[in-house]
Every structure is written in C-alpha cells, then in structure tokens.
C-alpha cells in the first residue's frame, strides 16, 4: 500500500492485515466506527453512540455473557446470527444490526423472561421501560432470591477485582443462587460492598448499623466492625477492608498509613492543609 511518492503511509498499521494493531471497521446500524482488534461489538456500539441494554456487563470484569440481554444481529453474508454484543470480539470488518427486528425481539424475549423472574425489581423495570417494555407476558415460574437475576457480576467482581472470591454460585439450573459457602456468613468476605455496588437489580444491599458500628452485606449475612475516622469519628470502611489495604502497602510508608486512618473528607482537609503550608503556595 504505497502512495504516489513511494513510501508507506504512516496509517499502515491502522489498515494492516496482520498483528493486533489492526483497527477493523464495525458497521452498526449503518454507522461506521473503527475499533481496536478484539474490542467488542458493545465497545463499537458505544463509540457509535448506539445504546444496547446490558445487565451482566461491567467494564472491570470479564464478560460472561450470561444475561443474554445485549443480543445483536451479526451479518454472516448469507445469513444473520444473533450474538451477545458484550463479548463478541471484533477481529475483522463486520456488519452488525443492533435494532433489527430480530435483535429487538430477542432482547425483548430475554427481558420478559427476566421480568417474570424478578417482577419486583425497580431497577429491572426501569431498564425494561427504557427498552420500551412495560410488562412481561410470562408468569413467574422460578424463584429468585430477592429479585436476583443471576447475572454473576457480584461473583466476578469479588473474585477478579477484590481477589476474595467470597461468594459464588450454588446449585444448578433453576436452583442456581449466589451464595457464600454453606450459606453461612462468608469467611472470605471483607465487607467492601463491591458486590452491592455492581448489582444491577438491587439484590445486594449494604446495610449500616450505627448502633453497633457495623456494616452488613445483605443477603450474605456478613457483618463487620467499621473503622472510624481518627479525627471525626465517622465510619470509613470495614476493619477488614482497612486491614486488607494496609497489608498491601509498603510497611514503612507511615504517611500513607496515616492517611488511611482518616475518612475521605478529613483526608482532603489534611491534604489541603499540607498544601497551604508548602512554601510558595500563597504566591500562586
């Protein structure tokens, strides 16, 4: 691919045919975007400004594609295939339909099944409404633990981001639940609440117990003492999270250790004070 002057254009890598530096083009509902090789269709859709609903997707963890809500249609030439946008890797130029009749119908079907399972979840209803789905045509035939749709984000985040793997899946098929071993308070839980933060349907909740200064991760029954700010006495994180974080620090870095004994607002006040005390600060 040489131009008239005879040298290879700098763009070569972008259009090359080998290596992982390729930038394939994804045509999604007629819109063309270029993404890095092995980016997902969902990445491409985001870049194209096309919204695709997701539940079990989170950029911080690997995509298990278990909820099947992000179905789109992939053009295979002679035929079209439904694929999950969140983990379909773009390896060459592809044509995708996010809002074709079949894709919309597939997503509606999946959402209706989820609504039947967890009819109480406000978060799920809101997402359904955003998809234009007001109700499900299916009865509730499977039992969910407080609207859990088994997307698995909590399990993934606990294992991959926190490194604790305190919770996992128990049971098979319709009996599948997210649980700590033997459904007892999880030994490996540190009370960080990451699972609650990523839960898309409000199943997992952080409960604060001010009377006993404890944090509870519900429904996993784990309760932990909270570390209080040395300055203002307000709760910061669970003692276990603090111990965990401190354990990962350089033992001699006393300054960092001191910072971790303060709540975020006291910490920023402290930093501001230190900045103000720096020579030349007021000249700025």
């Amino acid at each position: 691919m040489r131009n008239m002057l005879g040298y290879v254009p700098l763009l070569r890598n972008l259009e090359g045919v080998e290596g992982d530096n390729q930038v394939p083009t994804v045509t999604i509902d007629g819109k063309k975007v270029r993404v890095k090789k092995n980016a997902t269709v969902l990445d491409a859709a985001k870049r194209a400004g096309i919204w695709i609903p997701t539940l079990c997707y989170h950029p911080s963890v690997s995509s298990e594609a278990s909820c099947r809500l992000c179905m789109v249609e992939l053009d295979r030439g002679e035929w079209r295939q439904l694929v999950t946008a969140c983990n379909y890797p773009v390896r060459r130029d592809i044509v995708v339909y996010a809002y074709s009749e079949a894709a919309v119908r597939a997503r509606r079907g999946v959402m209706e099944l989820l609504l039947a399972r967890a009819p109480e979840s406000e978060e799920l209803k809101a997402l359904a409404a955003k998809m234009g789905i007001e109700r499900t045509s299916y009865p509730t035939v499977t039992e969910s633990q407080r609207s859990c749709i088994l997307c698995g984000l909590c399990v993934s985040v606990c294992e991959q981001m926190i490194g604790q793997a305190a919770i996992g899946f128990a049971g098979r098929g319709v009996q599948r639940t997210v649980a700590a071993p033997f459904r007892l308070p999880a030994e490996d839980c540190i009370g960080c609440g990451a699972c609650a933060a990523v839960c898309p349907v409000g199943t997992i909740k952080i409960r604060m117990h001010p009377d006993s200064n404890e944090i509870e991760i519900s429904p996993f029954k784990s309760r932990f003492k909270l570390r209080l700010c040395e300055q203002c006495n307000s709760p910061i994180v669970s003692e276990k999270v603090a111990a965990n974080a401190l354990g990962k620090l350089d033992a001699n870095n006393e300054e960092l250790r001191e910072i971790l004994r303060l709540c975020p607002s006291c910490r920023s006040l402290r930093t501001a004070g230190q900045l103000a005390a720096m020579p030349g600060y007021d000249q700025e």
Binding site: L114, L150, G152, G173
Partner: protein, 622 residues
C-alpha cells in the same frame, strides 16, 4: 493369557515382531469361549458365566488349549448374555448358568451345536448358528465395533495381535502430520458427538493455532437418555480410542491428552485405566513413542455426571477444576480451549474411527456413506423395539431398515409411531419419514439430528406431548442455569407443557411454545440451550393434532395422560367378578353377579385402579 511385555517398543519394527509373537501365541489356542461382559450382559450375570467357563477350561483334560475370555459388548443386548465359541463362531444367546456345562461339553469339546441356545428368527423360525446369519447383524457394518465381541479389552496383547497400534506406527513412521490430516479429510469424517463438524478441519485449525502447548481431549461424557455407544466402545475396545488420540495428537502437535469419562461408567474408567497403563508399559504412550520424536500421554478425568459437561467448553471448565459451565465460543476452543491453549476435542466414536482411516486410507472410509456423511454410525437402538441393542450401520441406510430389519420392528403387534434421534437435542421423526437416509444433513432437515447416536423407538401408545415434556424436564434439570433463556425459558416451557398434559392447556399455548423455542435457539449461550426446544418443535411439527386434542378436547389420544381419557368396561370381556367394584375407591362402579359392570362417569375420578386390577383386561381406556 497374559504375555510378558518386558521391553519398551522403540521402533515400528519392534511392534511388528510383537504382533507376530502374539499371533503365534494365539494360534496355539485351539478353542476359545468368548463371553460378553458388556453392561447389558454383565447385568444379566455374564461375569459368573465367564468364571464358570474358566473353571471348566481349567478342569478340562482335553489335549488342546482351551481359553475363556471376556469381551466387550456384542450389541445384541436384547438377547444377552451372549457367548460365542471358536472355532465356528457359534453364537449362543440368553445363556444361563446351567447352560455352561452343556455348551462346554457339546460345543467346545464335542464340536456339536446346542440348538436350543441358538437365535431363532421369529419370522421364519430358522435357527442361526453364527452372527452373520442373524438379521440383527446382517445389515450392520461393524468398523468401530469390529473389535467388540472379539478381543479382551483388558489385554493390550489382544489389541496388538489384532493389528492394533499398526495405524499409529504407520502414521509416525511414514506419514507427516499434514498427510494424516489429509487422510482424515479425504475420509470426510465428521464429529460423532452430535455436531457433525468436519474432524480434519478441526484438527487443521488446532494444528495451525498459535502456541507450543496443545491439548487433545476425548469426550466420553455420554449423557443422552438411553445412549450407550461410547460406553461400549470405551469398555469393549479402549485401545482403539487411545490409538485414535495418539494419531490425532501426532497430527495436531499435542503432547498431552485427556479422556473425560463419566464416573457412572465404572467399567469404562477401569478398562481405560488398564489400557493406558499397559500402553505406557510398552512405550506406546510416553516419551519418544516407537523411537520417534513424538511424545504423548493421556490422563483420565472422571466427570460427575452433569449432562452439560458433554458440551466442549463446559467439559474443559470441569477439566480445569471449575464448575462445568459453558462459555461463549466466539473464540473457538481450537484457538483457546483447555487452560487457554489450543485444544482439539473429539467424541469417543470419532477417535475410534481414526485408526481405521489411517490403516485403510481415507478413500476406503469415504467409500461408505452418503455424499456428505461418510463411514458408519453407531446407534443405541432402544424403546419399543424387538431387538434392543447397539448397532453400527453405514451412513445412508434408511431409518426403516434400522428399525425394522435390525431392530425387528415394534413388539407386541403394535404400530410404529415415531423415532427419537439425537437425544434431548434431537427430535421425533414420524412414520411417514422412515425412509429418510441416516445422514447428518437429512436428519437435520427433518427437525431432528444425528446427535451422538441415541435412537428411541416409540409405539402407538406413546403420547408425543409427554415425550416433549420428558425431554424438556430432563433438560431443565440438566441446565446449568448460567444463561437466562435456558434457565428461565425451559422453566416457562415446562410450565406450559405441564398444564397441557394435566388438561389445563389453553388456546395459544402451542404458539407460545413456538415463540419460546425460537428465543432459546437464538439467544441461549450453548448448544444445550439452543437445541433444547427441538423435541418440542419436532413434536409440534408432526403431531400438532395431539397437542390440539389435549388442549381443545381435553383428551390424550395415546391415553397416557391421566385425567385426559375415560375408563369404560368392555361388556363382552367383563366376567362380572367384582374385583374392580371392590377396589374402586369412590364406588363409581356398579354391577351384580353375572351382569357386566358399569362405570359411573360422574363419580369416576380417573384414578385407574380398575384398569390396574381387572384380571380380564376388560377395562378400556377411551
């Protein structure tokens, strides 16, 4: 006899001289009694028969060597236990312990035939003294199952004397890996586990995949209800699987293989373990096989019995020690499979075909079968069929010949209704399509599939809605629950089917099932979910009238769904004995001595007690 195999084989010539030695040793055995100890025969006590024959052989003062040996499944399970006497290949069926002495005295020593233990053709009344004369075997073409029933699976010497590992020697001494793949390609071998993917294409992709470490896996997680093809191969001829894997590993460039076999197959596990250790002992597994630079070894992994673990990615997850759940296959396992390395997985029967292809060439293999389905296929023929058993037939044979000629048709004078092929992912094929040829693509066109080889014959008394219900319930229980459509969708479908078979079906239910089926096919994560609706779709396609009868008329035409048919007393058959009257829990039956009894339909709760207790079959289901 167990021969000492002192030294490791270091060249193909070593193997050849070993073959000659074993063959010479075998030729000194003048008479041999082969007792089937496959699962079916063993369940009927054939192990004891084997012991009795051994005792008889030991105690015999005949001046020739007499040997009794256990062999793998002969396939004719309906007529087990099977005992074959050499020379003459005299096949005795339904042999019991008291028959041993007679067989030994008459046939083994005297060379005379014990007529009463021969198979008798129910149609002609003709006795058959050897397998080739029995219709069950006549139509079959046994390639994969050729060794079953002939060799003792617990002795590598038997396999080697039969020419075993010759294909391996040929491949590594005179063929390049590419040539091996070319042969498999010419053969047109397609995966026998159900998918029917071209084996050579899979091997080539795996060979070409990036990475130095590659794995080959044998999928022995056979889980379809009523299927026992792979089980019989692993039990009856484990070395054929190992040899196939060796050749595949050589072609692909793998040093480590795994056999994933379900723990419910203890005999398969035992025989595979023995086979692997025997192969290792003489250097057919391990470092520098037959003096070449090719090294390969195999580990056995026992599965816990989850149906979904037969799915390749779930199997690999299980092999890695994680829960057996599938993952998306957008990146194929030949690129990134077990432990993220290129992995080639084939089914037991696929592997067992490989040595034959290498031995006799791809063209020879492709000479059997149809345009796109080559070779033979093993089926386990079960259900309402006279000759239950394991059969191997050339591709392209019609279903009718399998069921009528080999299977002997439907028993008890009943008529054929449908045959279910392909296990829970397959479908039901009705009588009007019985002349379809057994071929991956033809069966798919009919809404069923080849599958791994389960073949369940159903007679006129089978309710097709219940068949759909049975498979849906099976799959719902076996679904791992990871993805929404499979977990929730199957539960919804089962809910609808439950209503239909209990007489609570509603207009629109069939359409609803169709919608859910389409959703599952399009959106489920793995093949288990994607194909889960096939039993429902195919029964709706061919037996829609039965669904309608259940829903609209509240009637089960096959009279299997309790509550959806009535009981009546056949006045002519009724002897007025009063048994039904006495047993009826709601006093719905009236009648006096010598007067045919009558059921009061208003009172009857359709419990079926009268039907169960009538000694004269005078109760009718209507």
């Amino acid at each position: 006899m167990i021969l000492p195999t002192s030294a490791k084989l270091t060249s193909p010539a070593d193997l050849e001289s070993l073959v000659r030695r074993y063959q010479q040793d075998n030729s000194s055995v003048a008479k041999c009694v082969r007792v089937c100890v496959g699962t079916g025969c063993a369940a009927k006590g054939s192990r004891k028969l084997y012991e009795l024959f051994c005792e008889a052989a030991e105690q015999s003062d005949a001046d020739v060597t007499i040997e009794a040996k256990c062999v793998g499944c002969h396939g004719f399970c309906e007529r087990g236990p099977i005992v074959v006497v050499e020379p003459g290949e005299v096949l005795y069926q339904r042999v019991e312990e008291p028959d041993v002495a007679e067989i030994f005295r008459e046939t083994v020593l005297g060379g005379r035939i014990v007529e009463r233990l021969l198979y008798e053709d129910p149609a002609t009344g003709k006795k058959a003294s050897e397998a080739a004369e029995i219709p069950f075997y006549r139509v079959q073409q046994r390639i994969v199952l050729a060794g079953n029933g002939r060799i003792d699976p617990t002795r590598i010497t038997e396999y080697i004397a039969d020419g075993g590992y010759g294909a391996l020697a040929k491949a590594i001494s005179s063929m390049t890996p590419e040539e091996v793949i070319d042969h498999v390609e010419i053969a047109g071998l397609r995966g026998r586990g159900g998918g029917g993917f071209l084996t050579a294409r899979k091997w080539r992709s795996c060979r070409e995949a990036k990475g130095a470490t590659k794995y080959v896996i044998c999928n022995g997680d056979e889980g379809d209800p009523g299927a026992f093809m792979d089980r019989s191969i692993m039990e009856g001829n484990p070395h054929s699987v190992i040899e196939g894997m060796l050749i595949g590993a050589y072609a692909i460039g793998s040093k480590q293989g795994y056999i994933y076999v379900r723990n419910e197959y203890p005999l398969a596990v035992e025989h595979l373990k023995m086979a692997i250790s025997q192969a290792r002992d003489i250097g057919l597994l391990g470092e520098k096989i037959l003096g070449s630079s090719f090294s390969f070894d195999i580990k056995i992994n026992r599965g816990g019995g989850a149906f979904v673990c037969g799915e390749s990615t779930a199997l690999m997850a299980s092999l890695e020690g994680r829960p057996g759940e599938p993952r998306a296959k957008y990146v194929h396992t030949v690129e990134s499979g077990f432990r993220g390395k290129p992995t080639n997985l084939n089914n037991v029967e696929t592997w067992a075909n490989v040595p034959h292809i290498i031995n006799r060439g791809g063209e020879w293999f492709a000479g059997t079968g149809t345009e796109k389905s080559k070779g033979t296929k093993v089926f386990s023929l079960v259900g309402n069929v006279v000759n239950t058993g394991l059969v191997e037939v050339p591709m392209g044979i019609t279903l009718r010949r399998i069921i009528e000629e080999i299977g002997g048709g439907v028993p008890d004078g009943k008529s054929f209704k449908a045959v279910q092929t392909g296990g829970p992912s397959g479908g039901c094929i009705p009588a009007e399509h019985l002349d379809v040829r057994v071929d991956f693509d033809e069966l798919t066109k009919l809404g069923s599939m080849m599958g791994s080889g389960g073949m369940i014959v159903m007679d006129e008394d089978t309710c097709m809605v219940r068949v759909a219900h049975y498979f849906t319930e099976f799959l719902q229980k076996e679904s791992c629950g990871k993805c929404t459509p499979c977990r929730e969708g199957l539960a919804q479908m089962l809910h609808i089917l439950n209503r239909i078979i209990t007489g609570e079906g509603e207009v629109g239910d069939v359409e609803e099932l169709g919608t859910l089926a389409e959703l599952l096919e399009g959106t489920a994560l793995c093949a288990l979910g994607k194909t889960a609706a096939n039993p429902i779709i195919s029964t709706i396609r061919y037996f829609r009238d039965e669904y309608d009868a259940h829903i609209l008329d509240r009637h089960c035409p096959a009279k299997q769904c309790k509550g959806l048919f009535l009981y009546e007393i056949d006045a002519e058959a009724c002897k007025a004995c009063g048994i039904c009257l006495k047993n009826c829990p709601v006093d719905a039956i009236t009648g006096e001595k010598k007067v045919p009894h009558v059921i009061n339909q208003d009172k009857c709760t359709l419990c079926g007690t009268c039907w169960d207790t009538c000694p004269f079959s005078a109760i009718l289901k209507v």
